[in-house]
């Protein structure tokens, strides 16, 4: 497998190192240059990744690295989302002495997520989870003088340590039972294997380990705290990027187990149901926008799990997963970009009447929340449409019905900020950060609408994204 297959990863790694070196030597006023370096890395990774869109699916690096449609597209999405997060940071961190290092951590974390998306070996998977987690803890607690940020990092770390331990036990069990950690060899071994309780436990623990990165039930508790306490650019990043990688990794793992021997899909379906319901119910009465977004993104993970549960049962499951993740990523980034633009104002009451004073920020917020609800023609609608159709198509109609009921419940809390923004009134002036944040606001806001209207083009791309078939 040529080294060019990991070109995007190398670009990000180089940019991370360059940003770190620059941060060590530049004076604080010049630290925003590191953002430029990071953006260059992102751009290079995007270009290199786009070239892979046409490569035929294959395994590389001794079978540990999958380069199939879903991995390529998910990695592009990860890079894109990371780039948008970079845009949020320069003004936000302008007063921070460790400004430049932030970008290097962010890129390394993105690298971990990309590895997750491509992992085709349990050890590679563990490595990816660890890289993405360790950097994530630091990003969450970056404001080390602010107790809420430190608490968020702490909680993330504790739950993460627990989840990583579970994952390791699971990996060990599977390795012990199947004699290999490579997915292709595992698939061969599983094809003739008998289901055993130990196998189920091993697989279940691996699912839980990845569920932590997705913030799925029961390892979801870190997400609302991170959304509330982490620096807003980091919060935007951590609620989106690791999830994309983790969802793909989970889909790959679930697809590995044949329906006849050991079907993990019902387990994932139940997790999906619990995750979306819990996230929704907890979000209902939040008076803090960032916590509300945090809980909402827990529930959105539940929807993503619906597509994961249908992998192999419906031919469009991967497309639905990718498209849904795209919509979710754009909408969540847009919402956090608004929070960043408004200097992190977070209490819902402080948003009253924003529509009159800051119409653009208000509009982007409303559009992002409506997209999260799934109102057409925004991108979130197409994602949910695919999700429902995949669920009905694959014989999980009850899950589609549950998702619909959850959508109705979610409308209730998505409308609360919208109502406050447009129906409330305020006289106080609103301070904004502006700069590159505004750029990202405009970019992502228009993308929400365009990606819905231009759904055809993106869908044609997404339907080519299948998981690599490991058994002929």
């Amino acid at each position: 497998m040529p080294i060019g297959d990991v070109g995007p990863e190398i670009a990000l790694a180089l940019a991370a190192v360059a940003a770190l070196l620059a941060a060590a030597f530049l004076p604080q006023s010049r630290q925003p240059l590191c953002a430029g370096i990071a953006l260059l890395g992102v751009l290079a990774a995007l270009l290199l990744g786009a070239q892979q869109l046409t490569t035929p699916p294959r395994l590389g690096f001794s079978g540990s690295w999958a380069l199939d449609g879903i991995a390529v597209q998910a990695r592009l999405l990860i890079v894109l989302a990371s780039g948008l997060c970079v845009l949020l940071a320069p003004r936000w961190l302008a007063d921070d002495r460790r400004h430049g290092e932030f970008y290097s951590l962010l890129l390394l974390s993105a690298l971990g997520a990309m590895m997750l998306a491509g992992a085709a070996d349990l050890l590679q998977l563990s490595l990816a989870v660890l890289l993405s987690s360790v950097t994530g803890y630091t990003l969450a607690a970056y404001h080390r003088d602010w107790s809420i940020s430190v608490e968020a990092g702490m909680k993330y770390f504790l739950i993460g340590a627990f989840a990583n331990a579970l994952l390791m036990v699971g990996v060990t069990l599977l390795f012990g039972l199947l004699g290999t950690t490579r997915y292709d060899a595992m698939a061969t071994a599983l094809a003739g294997a008998e289901a055993s309780p130990l196998l189920l436990i091993g697989a279940g623990l691996c699912v839980l380990g990845i569920a932590f990165k997705l913030a799925a039930f029961p390892l979801h508790a870190w997400l609302p705290d991170v959304a509330e306490g982490a620096p807003v650019p980091a919060a935007a990043f951590l609620t989106v990027v690791p999830k994309v990688g983790a969802a793909v990794a989970l889909a790959r793992l679930v697809g590995l187990f044949p329906v006849e021997t050991l079907d993990l899909r019902p387990l994932v379906a139940v997790l999906a149901l619990l995750t979306m319901s819990l996230g929704n119910l907890a979000a209902l009465w939040q008076d803090d926008l960032r916590r509300l977004l945090g809980w909402s993104s827990v529930s959105q993970s539940g929807y993503a799990l619906v597509a994961v549960a249908l992998v192999g049962l419906s031919p469009r499951a991967e497309a639905a997963l990718l498209y849904f993740l795209l919509g979710y990523a754009l909408a969540n980034l847009a919402a956090f970009a608004v929070v960043a633009e408004l200097r992190g104002r977070t209490r819902l009451v402080d948003y009253a009447g924003l529509g009159a004073i800051r119409p653009m920020a208000a509009l982007v917020l409303v559009v992002s929340l409506l997209s999260l609800t799934g109102i057409p023609p925004l991108v979130g609608f197409v994602g949910k449409l695919l999700l429902f159709s995949v669920a009905i198509d694959g014989g999980y109609a009850w899950l589609a019905v549950a998702a619909v009921i959850n959508t109705v419940i979610s409308l209730f809390y998505y409308l609360r900020p919208i109502g406050t923004v447009y129906f409330g009134s305020t006289r106080s002036a609103v301070a904004v950060l502006g700069g590159s944040i505004r750029l990202s606001l405009v970019l992502v806001g228009s993308a929400l609408l365009l990606a819905g209207l231009a759904a055809d083009w993106l869908l044609q791309l997404a339907v080519t994204a299948h998981l690599l078939a490991l058994i002929d």
């Binding site: 009159a356 409506l370 109102i375 057409p376 023609p377 609608f381 197409v382 449409l385 429902f388 159709s389 009905i392 198509d393 109609a397 589609a400 019905v401 619909v404 959508t407 109705v408 409308l411 209730f412 409308l415 109502g419 447009y422 129906f423 759904a455 055809d456 869908l459 044609q460 339907v463």
Partner: protein, 495 residues
């Protein structure tokens, strides 16, 4: 042509939303032309509509790809039913745009949202693609949410939220049903013409029943039928008058229209099997709506509940039309065309009634009927208009309501005599409640110490005259309207 009907108001909404320096008067003048274009285009479509025997069911068809890989397209087209409903809606929107409304500082946005709502509402009636239909259906909720929440009075955001929650629940049920109807049928297509041809789920079975249930639930919420009507009264009472008129005149029609266009046309066999239940639900709405309306002392609430009653007639007609697959064709045609005319008549009549409640609100900020009386002397024009609308609503011959109700009852009587008989009780109660309302507001003596009440003024009078003239025209000379509708009805029920 139909594409422009949708896009012009949407473009107008964009212009108004982004234009910064417009006071209320100029915003209205700027919005009106955008609102008039669809009406003119639809009038042209009506003139160009081929009503002869051999003509295709859907005309003025536009078919452009949108999400080709899912079989979704920008497909528009009209038959007699959708054309008449769309034209009536366009007219009501022009009336709502012209209606003088005290708006305060953010008038520009009011007109922008109204134009937005016009574009998407017309889209619902013109769409020939199930998914496109759904998109417009959902967007109409968003538009109405902002109109009620922002410009309503009292606890408007709460009423708007309740409206959005109920109807979104309904519309998601519709989405699931749409997916259930279309999936598993190769090649995947959301084209209504294809689906009507294919009748995908006519084999019966659990899936067909569930899909039908999804559609019926979704459209019942929108129509609204008992017992999922509870969102309607607060939404109506707290919305500003033009928004109420649009809500009653246009948005409620989407429920009935959807029932005709989708389950009745696309899964006729299954619909026929379950039609008696739908008819029973319609009966419950007729009686419940009428009785509860009679008990209201709040003017707007009373009219809101009569909407439930009237939409019940309409759904009764639809259920009767779909109640069997063969035989009794003339009766079923009659019932279906009656249902459509009822929707049109209700749009015009209740639309004008709600506009008139706006007159009461702007003069006094009070809907309590007990606080009024003897207005016939003070405001004779308002009294005349109100009396015409009230009589039309209770089904007096010579007015539009009668044409509709006669057809529905005649059609239903042949198919389900008992149901028609019970439904007639509803007519008695409505007659009582409208007469009582007219008597309380306009005759008798005014309560002591009430200030004078100004009569209708220029634009108000003009708007109501146009709407009520149409009511009268349909009442005395319905043929021009009935021809295209009856043809479409014949296409749907066969024969």
């Amino acid at each position: 042509m139909l594409t422009l009907t949708i896009l012009v108001p949407l473009f107008g909404a964009l212009v108004l939303a982004s234009g910064t320096r417009l006071d209320a008067r100029r915003a209205r003048l700027c919005a009106l032309p955008f609102g008039l274009v669809p009406l003119l285009l639809l009038a042209a479509a009506w003139v160009g509509f081929d009503g002869s025997a051999g003509a295709p069911a859907f005309q003025h068809v536009v078919d452009l790809p949108w999400i080709a890989s899912l079989g979704v397209g920008w497909r528009l087209g009209v038959d007699g039913i959708s054309l008449s409903l769309a034209a009536m809606s366009a007219l009501l929107f022009v009336a709502a745009l012209a209606w003088p409304q005290v708006l305060g500082a953010r008038a520009r946005h009011w007109y922008a949202w109204l134009l937005f709502l016009q574009g998407v509402s017309l889209g619902v009636f013109l769409a020939l693609d199930l998914l496109l239909f759904y998109v417009f259906f959902d967007l109409s909720l968003v538009g109405m949410y902002f109109l009620i929440g922002r410009w309503g009075h009292d606890d408007a955001p709460r009423a708007a939220l309740k409206f959005f929650l109920y109807t979104l629940a309904g519309s998601l049920a519709i989405l699931l049903a749409i997916l259930g109807l279309t999936l598993g049928d190769a090649p995947l297509s959301f084209d209504m013409r294809v689906l009507i041809e294919r009748q995908p789920l006519d084999g019966g079975g659990l899936r067909a029943t569930l899909v039908l249930l999804g559609f019926v639930f979704g459209f019942a919420v929108k129509t609204p039928l008992f017992p999922v009507h509870t969102w309607l009264p607060p939404a109506h009472v707290q919305a500003p008058a033009p928004a109420s008129a649009i809500l009653a005149g246009v948005l409620l029609k989407m429920g009935g229209y959807g029932l005709i266009r989708i389950p009745l046309s696309m899964m006729g066999e299954t619909f026929a099997r379950h039609a008696p239940w739908l008819a029973a639900l319609a009966l419950a709405s007729i009686l419940w709506g009428a009785l509860v309306a009679l008990a209201q002392s709040n003017l707007k609430q009373r009219i809101a509940y009569t909407s439930i009653n009237h939409m019940g007639y309409s759904v009764l007609g639809i259920a009767a039309a779909g109640s069997m697959r063969a035989g009794e064709t003339p009766a079923r045609q009659l019932a279906l065309s009656g249902a459509v005319v009822e929707m049109l008549a209700h749009g015009l009549i209740t639309g004008s009634l709600f506009f008139m409640t706006g007159v009461f609100w702007q003069r006094r900020q009070d809907y309590e009927m007990a606080h009024y009386g003897g207005l016939a002397g003070n405001a004779p024009k308002l009294a005349a208009a109100f009396i015409v609308a009230a009589f039309a609503s209770l089904g007096l011959p010579g007015l539009a309501g009668f044409v509709a109700e006669f057809q529905i009852f005649a059609g239903t009587f042949v198919l389900h005599p008992w149901m028609a008989a019970i439904a007639l009780l509803g007519v008695l109660v409505t007659a009582a409640l409208f007469l009582q309302m007219v008597q309380r507001l306009f005759f008798g003596t005014a309560p002591q110490g009430q200030p004078a009440f100004a009569d209708l003024r220029g634009v108000e009078l003009a708007v109501l005259t146009v709407l009520l003239a149409l009511v009268l025209l349909i009442g005395v000379y319905p043929a021009w309207l009935l021809l295209p509708i009856e043809r479409a009805a014949a296409m749907i029920v066969g024969g």
